[in-house]
Symmetry: C2
Subunit: 310 residues, 2 copies
């Protein structure tokens, strides 16, 4: 592959170089989490996520505890996006001497407790940059929901309004204490950025409600719903993007790390009922048969999502 | 914990901050791999290892393919040290744009194939330093071998002579092409450094032969056998360290990354027979009852192993 390539093309190139699963019930590279089958029956999910200081998180705006929380929540969100339950976590920290491991592990441990996903091991190493990698296992009491199962006519739902994390980051970056950062709305947006939530309960409910495809919004709605369309060989028509209070439309369409889930279900499924009391579920459009159709509010969508460069 | 602390003290501090397993059949932090029990019965092993460019590997002396191999083999070695079989791997790469991912994944894929441990997922991220993290699962058809089970009177065995990796690194660092690097011995030592082997078969054989404790030599014999003694609450008396051809005594005692296994078995166990044809098994001493006794060739052993600083 060329020396400098987009992340998604690079992942595809790596996937093409490596052997794929011999068992069609398994999914290896290319979904939120790998789907494996256990010898004794049942499903094992595996996912890994890395948070890099200065890349995923501005260390002048993010506490080490928040960084730890985010690393754990981002990885558990991959299990949520399969409709699974979290199992166990391995945490690996590479960083310079003097790294505030106490703070980092405070946040990691809080998220581990919140999502009942205990930290059972990992590794520590010195490095010039701070790199926190979390790997988690998950289980599923039925077939996990892949990205690839969306069918024309399915309705698309999102587990809440979008753009809160991006708006919170803007508030933090503005550096203005007082006006604009005060009040419950600002605090809530900043918290959405600092302590994103993994939607484990919502993902499980979507799976039980018959979801045909699901993904978590980590790169932005435009990019992530595009992944579902690519993997499913379908298009989509979104009526509008639900914009969180205090967020802009760009925050909602292009901002990542809300970790809300988007999923497809056949029309007529009892989706709102399955979510009663869980989340603010919103129907945002439908799946169409033309893989080239990527429409938001009548206009073709630009995939604005975040990619690392290689 | 203080800002700059040794790695082993830091791991202990982290372990003390986190909850431990409610089930005595499980082991979380503190062994080569975590031991988990599956709902349907059976054992799940989890381990993670990080290789940092410029710290674990001098990138002017190590090819990216060798770095990939080493990252995978080091992690699978943790499964070998429990007497398990490798399952699946997640690979996470953080690095600068322009990183030779083709070369890196060549080495990762070769090791994945060698140890039947396919790469099923992971993550890619940009970072100023190259950090390759591998997490693997493992299974075990009987209770995995912990570090903590050595008993006074047990014999200590090692799966081969030591110091080959350290000697190979010295040859590479000497930078002298020609004399000293030529010939099969030099090539073999350099290969031992560049492409260390995970002793999966030997670990399984040791477990089936009744091993009471086991560890892989990644930090050096002195440090690693010290971990077994610490966890088992015992001491040890080693007659001599087996020195590989071309290696020095310091290479053998203090050098890490040979990934040979050291294990304890009750006297009278049929150990050599269990290993017939597998490895060059050597009895190096015995377990004693005094936890303060750490003797090599009649002298108290200095723990020379490698630690990262925090």
């Amino acid at each position: 592959m060329p020396l400098t390539t987009g992340e998604f093309a690079t992942i595809k190139s790596i996937k093409d170089r490596l052997p794929g699963p011999p068992d069609p019930n398994q999914v290896w590279i290319g979904d939120d989490a790998a789907i494996l089958t256990l010898p004794g029956g049942g499903w094992l999910l595996l996912a890994a996520d890395t948070v890099v200081g200065g890349v995923h998180a501005d260390l002048t705006l993010t506490s080490m505890a928040d960084l730890g929380w985010k690393a754990m929540a981002a990885c558990i969100s991959d299990i949520a996006a399969m409709g699974g339950e979290a199992g166990y976590a391995l945490v690996t920290v590479a960083g310079p001497p003097g790294t505030d491991l106490d703070g980092l592990y405070d946040g990691l441990a809080e998220a581990a407790q919140e999502y009942a996903c205990p930290i059972v091991g990992g590794d520590l190493a010195n490095a010039r940059a701070l790199v926190v990698t979390v790997a988690v296992t998950g289980t599923c009491d039925g077939p996990p929901v892949r990205r690839s199962g969306a069918r024309p006519g399915d309705l698309l739902w999102v587990t809440g309004p979008l753009g809160r994390s991006a708006a919170g980051l803007r508030l933090l970056r503005s550096g203005v204490m007082g006006a604009g950062r005060d009040g419950p709305e600002a605090e809530s947006l900043i918290a959405a950025h600092a302590r994103p939530r993994a939607r484990l309960a919502a993902g499980g409910a979507a799976r039980r409600a018959g979801a045909t495809a699901m993904i978590d919004i980590s790169d932005g709605l435009a990019a992530d719903i595009g992944h579902v369309a690519d993997m499913s060989g379908v298009g989509f028509r979104l009526t509008e993007v639900p914009i969180a209070q205090g967020a802009s439309r760009d925050d909602a369409v292009g901002g990542g790390e809300d970790f809300e889930l988007v999923f497809a279900v056949p029309p007529g499924s009892a989706v709102p009922e399955a979510f009663a009391g869980l989340d603010q579920l919103i129907c945002i459009g439908e799946v169409t048969s033309d893989p080239g159709e990527r429409i938001l509010a009548g206009r073709t969508l630009d995939p604005l999502g975040w990619e690392h460069r290689w």
